[in-house]
């Protein structure tokens, strides 16, 4: 995915960190449209388990994905702190159900490490990089990957 910020070399990047499936993830703030409290969605027939359904976002119908299930970490358990992160990728708007949102992270470009070669090609594809924060590792989500194997991009 072309990262608009990548062109501006040593600028600060801002990420929003959240947890999904017990792991720590983050998304660049420019990709996020809004964060909403979880409300029940309308389920869709003939869809995989990680597609929760569709939600009304001020008149637009947007699909909601369970990010944890999408990454193979099991369905997100129901919790009051669950939120939906509304993000925009390539002109489409989607919602990601996550366990909770933590903080805004401001890092230098150099602080983002490349994803090392790991066994799962799918995992490597869906993680753009990693940021180390106080001994914990925050994974940068590749939204394209989330979208790709979801909306039948093969069509």
């Amino acid at each position: 995915m072309p990262d608009p910020a990548e062109a501006l070399a040593d600028t600060q990047f801002e990420f929003i960190t959240f947890s999904a499936g017990g792991q720590s993830y983050c998304l660049e703030i420019t990709q996020i449209r809004e964060i909403r409290r979880w409300t029940p969605v309308t389920a869709l027939p003939h869809t995989p388990a990680d597609v929760l359904g569709v939600m009304n976002l001020r008149g637009a119908v947007i699909p909601i994905f369970d990010l944890s299930a999408r990454f193979g970490l099991g369905a997100t358990p129901g919790n009051e702190r669950n939120v939906v992160i509304v993000a925009a990728v390539n002109g489409t708007t989607i919602g990601l159900l996550v366990e909770s949102v933590s903080e805004i992270l401001s890092v230098e470009k150099s602080a983002i490490q490349e994803t090392p070669d790991i066994k799962s090609e799918a995992t490597k594809h869906s993680i753009r990089g990693m940021i180390s924060v106080d001994d914990t590792m925050v994974r940068v989500v590749n939204l394209d990957a989330v979208l790709e194997n979801s909306t039948g991009a093969a069509q």
Partner: protein, 735 residues
Amino acid sequence: MSMNSIRDTFFEECEELLEALVEGLSHMEEASDDMEVINAVFRSVHSIKGGAGAFALDRLVNFAHAFETVMDKVRDRELAVDEKLMALFHRSGDQLSDLVASARDGTDLDPTAEDSIVKELESYLGPEAKAEEFSFSAVTLDFDGGAPIDLPDLDLADEASDDQQPKENLFEVHFRPERALYENGHEPLLLFDALAELGPLTVEADLARLPDFDSFDPNDAVISWNMSLVTPESETTLHEIFEFVEGLCELNISLSSQAPCSPKPEALPVETASEPEPIAEVASVAEQQPEPKEPAEISIAAPDIVLEKQPEAQPSALPTAAAPKETRGPKPTLRVDLDRVDRLINTVGELIINQAMISQRIEELDLPTVAHLTNELEAYKLLARDIQEGVMAIRAQPVKPLFQRMSRIVREASDATHKKAKLVTVGDSTEVDKTVIERLADPLTHMIRNAVDHGLETSAIRQSAGKEPVGTIRLSAAHRSGSVFIEISDDGAGLDRERILAKAIEKNLIAPDVELSEPEIDNLLFLPGFSTAGQVSNLSGRGVGMDVVKNAVQALGGRVSIASTQGKGTTFTIVLPLTLAVMDGFVISVGNQTMVIPISSILETIRPNSKDIHVIGTDSQLVNVRGAYVPIVDVAHSLGLEDAKARETNGILLLVSTEAQDLTALRVSAIHDQRQVVIKSLESNYTAIPGVSAATILGDGKIALILDPEELIKLAHYNPLDPFAQNTKMELRHA
């Protein structure tokens, strides 16, 4: 106003003129001697020529001119319209529209067709035709002074041969342009030049309205002119010169019997150039022009006039010329950017949703006495609906232009296949959403071509079958129960089912031993990769089959079906929703979900008695509806929401009729409400889901899926072991 936007306006007008032209031509076919119609056709061509001249679109001008000249002969009753000439006119009309399109898009057009048509047109004219063609450019913007009239002797010959009475008339012309005249790119000097070609002209500028320098607005039109002209021409001819500025100026043409008065010394034509001119380009052209008097002296009667001249007795020309100009002017229509209309439609959609939400919230409040509130709410609902219908009507357009385009397709297709065919259209004025019309053009073209190519027989075969030698393609549109029905039918031989079946087996589309009913065989045509043409004709066998048509129609939320009678012909029926934005639906429960099903598809709702429900085979159920056994499809099961074991005998059955199956009963848990819902696309942010056509937002802000009964039934019938069904399934995914 920039030159470009004037150009755009011209091409927009061209579209309308071409439509009028096609319409006129088809009327001419019915009543070839109706002067009104012939005049209308002439006017369309003439207006295109005039506009094109202003933009120096020479090819267009020359072609329109040749067309118009022959048309004029018809108008003067010098030429009788026979079948051959009519066909030529049709082809000329097509060519003209191609030329307009190529001029608009700046594309190159192969001149061979054009040349041959021009030659044919010219063959209808006398020897003077060539000279006329030359002279026309006299009224173009890039006209340069003396050039156009280089054949003065021919002009004279024209005049003589026209048996003109030498009687000279003196006309007094008062001409006061309005600001809009300049804004539309007109140039008075060119009008004067045109007048001067009719005879000696005296022009006097009236500077009385010229303001002080300080309050001078260069865009304002302040100068008016008084002219006197001595000419043998009629008043009608003078009016024709001002035809393009009608409504943009104050114009008085009066016939005065006085002797010609001498020009006043201060009446300097050069002053026209000093007139404030909003368009710099035009002004500079004007300045290069010689004084208008000069051409007037060179050409006493420019050949152009031969074209424009109308016999005084003509019924339609005279009233228009004499009619007060207030009654003329363009139709009171408004050109609005489509984006603005769409934004409005979206907002109104939100209004409808909002209205539903408010109603629902108030209901939830459970107020003790809400009678008056309910009334107000009902009024609000009606108002919102009125607004919505009004807004949708803006987008609705008659299918006429679309149908008219098809007459060309029929002509071209019948030429290419050497078959004789005519197009009959019914219900031209049926209004359909603009998007639907646009997206219907390709499928219709394809189906019309098919109808001519595969549907109709050759004249010889037709005659031996006791039919008219000319085949008829009938294209009709009508509104019926909230849908638009478009039918394309031919009176050809009907579908050759044996060949279709053989073909489908040969192409491995179906298993060789499958027993298919007649409608099922017909529907094989819609399978991807099916084409009946024995050989690939350059017309319809381009590898795209009826499946493309079907997909296009389904993408519009419509369906296409087929009916054929051996020896009598084939009819394709396209059923489309009236609008793409709103529909009436039943709010239903399926399992524990709320969904919407379009009312238009439901014939009847049934609450069955358990004794009416019968099991057939292992798990199929039938319901007895007044003696007929109708298969039941469980919606929840079909959508994969529940296990088959969860099926029960209660619930409500919705009786629907689809193209594939005569009658099917859809089982749902309950019906809650009937309401208008705003259609929201699922595909814009997600992907198409089988059995679901779209989504909508209910009063509580929740999303409800809108079901597609046809697809639901197909899903329910999906059986991986049945090759026919497998194809249907494949189709689903592509749709």
